[in-house]
Symmetry: C2
Subunit: 414 residues, 2 copies
């Protein structure tokens, strides 16, 4: 079965706004065994919208519209879909009453244009919206002699998600033959895509019934495995078999099997073992601490640390001897180690991380070019320092450095 | 004149990948006076692609295809566009030679499928790609009796941008009547959209010849003004007139007129006045430092600071008296002020910022709920503390807190 997603709104045809809801919808539709065949963005224009609806009904069984259900003159999705299907709109007095009540509760005036949100396409099921004013609509229609499902959802992500999960998934499930799909999402840090692929391609190529996708992100490779079988048990067994072979091949390079982020994995390990962490960051300037503390509850294992941009602060906050900096330079193996050890001592943490490098775009020299970063991890078992030459721009170099630091903590804790 | 953008690639119909090139293209097309009327994503399927190309040619004058020009069997854009136009493809021996040379230089084997990238649509202009293997193509064709421009670009952003700027913009300029468009991008921090709109709507509504767009982001409102006139001078004069009225109305709430970020503006001010900054962050956990140091050259005005997640570190790194924390709690006006003053003293910076709060999702109490954040700024002129109750989740609360901190620095420097 195929679906098509139409994002409605002229703002998404400007350089400033983008549809992101469709990623969520695609995920949910895929879980039901429905593939998304087209996505499009159409402006707030009745003619364009009607044409887009007709085109979509010619080629796809399920069509999801997102947006254009509000109270303004620009909100035209209801009208356009009704027009495309040759159906009428009728104002639903129950919805009007609910809207009036909602407005009264908040002490707002109910202006007439708001009633527009109560216009329902003939034969449509109204999908109540707990998180906003405009309800969704579900239309089982026929077009060109074929059965079509049209779903109208509001654009705000919270409203859209609430409606799709609460009202649409159960309805879709009852119309789609039950699917048995097993998925795995393996993640690998800091290995080039070509190297991962060279190792795993011989494995997954023999599993022609498993759809394998390799996604390369910044400092991270994801392997998505997806298998559909007549029963869930068969699908799980099959995908597990391939996942295990890949794990045998890549070993502990795989940090996640369920799609968790590297900071989440480090968080699990630290909490499980009752250990703590502190950081002293120079070129990453707080990015590592920020990533760690982006997780709620991180105060259980993260104590804090220092951003030691200036050399004085490297000494002041992480006890790095001035002489050491003078001798080896701020960007050096020795200073990275001293930062990790110093911050560990100062914070009384189980582990200390030190990062120093040249993030660019300026500040590079022949000996110490942009991209050169030293990352150190100090713990009971001693201190290790890694030297890296990261490619790319400032943003990328800083990201890779934090990825390397987290990966070192993960490996130390394994 | 209208354009339509078609992103080609099945990976963009999964939950994992999204077209982002179209934002860049839209920006560039708008600058030329071309509006984007539709955007769509089509998978690597010859039939779907040909149908999409035909549909686009029916409704738009300029059609830009992105992706599907590589060497694999899945790369079908050339074939589909040729089919839609009823034109033939021919292998171009010069491009083959260039590809062979490129491969030889890198010591790679040139396999036959790579030659596919040299297939050129009859009558097309080849657009050389300095950043990759697949050249772009420019086709001036006729469809249904109407003149159409079809542009085929590779998907990787660097290649696409290089080709569009170097090869396409000059060609488009020669075909499109010269446009005279003036734009302004005003930014306002930490004011609700409704409040901004209430103040500026009476102004921009009288300028019907200026397109005004209000965009609300996290802790930031953007006002985009765009005006088209027969001459550039007229357009500039008109848009400047409205911008000045808006500035009179909003005053120093406007932090940027050219779209700069808040951290950029703070950076200009600090450098202009030769001042420095240090931070002591609790709940924001490094996010503020990270934002400040995301700019190259930030070491000129940012010294560093401390992430003081634990109470011990608030004392250790920012001199906050233990008694003060015991008396008022870590999340308090007093501790925020002490953090700002302490870190300023320790780092010997012109300004010190202290942030302490409850970012959630756990840790809130009745007196100190999730979202409560104190932000302090200490300088020569004394210390100011702001108490805020930010709405939303952890990510949003932390972002708002850093936005508030930067805004306080900006206002202090004005």
């Amino acid at each position: 079965m195929h679906a098509e997603i139409i994002a409605v709104g002229s703002e998404m045809l400007t350089p400033h706004r983008q549809d992101t809801n469709s990623l969520y919808l695609t995920d949910k539709l895929n879980e039901l065994g429905v593939e998304v065949r087209f996505k499009s963005v159409v402006g707030d224009n009745a003619e364009d919208l009607t044409a887009a609806a007709k085109l979509a009904m010619r080629r796809s069984e399920i069509i999801v519209f997102m947006g254009g259900l509000g109270p303004t003159e620009d909100d035209l999705t209801r009208e356009a879909v009704a027009e495309a299907l040759g159906l009428k709109l009728a104002r639903n007095p129950e919805i009007v009453a609910r809207l009036e009540e909602r407005f009264a509760k908040r002490g707002y005036k109910f202006s007439l244009n708001n009633a527009k949100q109560a216009d329902v396409i003939e034969s449509a099921v109204v999908l109540p919206n707990a998180n906003g004013t405009a309800p969704g609509q579900w239309v089982s229609g026929r077009y060109d002699g074929k059965d079509r499902i049209l779903i109208l959802l509001p654009g705000p992500p919270m409203e859209l998600k609430g409606l799709f999960e609460g009202e649409c998934i159960p309805r879709l499930k009852s119309r789609i033959p039950e699917q048995h799909i097993a998925i795995r999402e393996l993640k690998i840090a800091l290995m080039p895509e070509s190297q991962v692929d060279a190792k795993v391609a011989p494995l997954y190529k023999t599993y022609t019934d498993i759809q394998t996708t390799i996604l390369a992100g910044a400092g991270e490779i994801q392997l998505h495995l997806r298998c559909q079988k007549p029963t869930q048990a068969e699908a799980e067994k099959r995908v597990e078999e391939l996942a295990e072979k890949i794990e045998d091949e890549l070993g502990d390079a795989i940090f996640s099997r369920k799609g968790e982020s590297l900071e989440q994995i480090v968080s699990y390990f630290l909490q499980m073992r009752g250990l703590t962490l502190a950081v002293a960051e120079s070129c990453t300037g707080g990015l590592l601490a920020q990533r760690i503390t982006s997780l709620g509850g991180s105060s259980r294992y993260f104590l804090g640390g220092a951003i030691v941009y200036s050399n004085e602060l490297k000494t002041q906050f992480a006890n790095v001897p001035k002489l050491l900096i003078d001798k080896h330079g701020a960007v050096s193996r020795e200073v990275a180690a001293a930062l990790a050890e110093g911050i560990r001592k100062r914070c009384l943490s189980s582990y200390g991380i030190g990062i120093t490098g040249v993030a660019g775009p300026t500040g590079g020299t022949e000996q110490k070019p942009v991209g050169l970063v030293y990352i150190a991890l100090a713990g009971d078992e001693g201190t290790q320092v890694v030297e890296r030459n990261f490619p790319g721009d400032r943003k990328r170099i800083r990201w890779f450095a934090t990825q390397q630091a987290l990966e070192m903590v993960r490996r130390a804790l394994m």
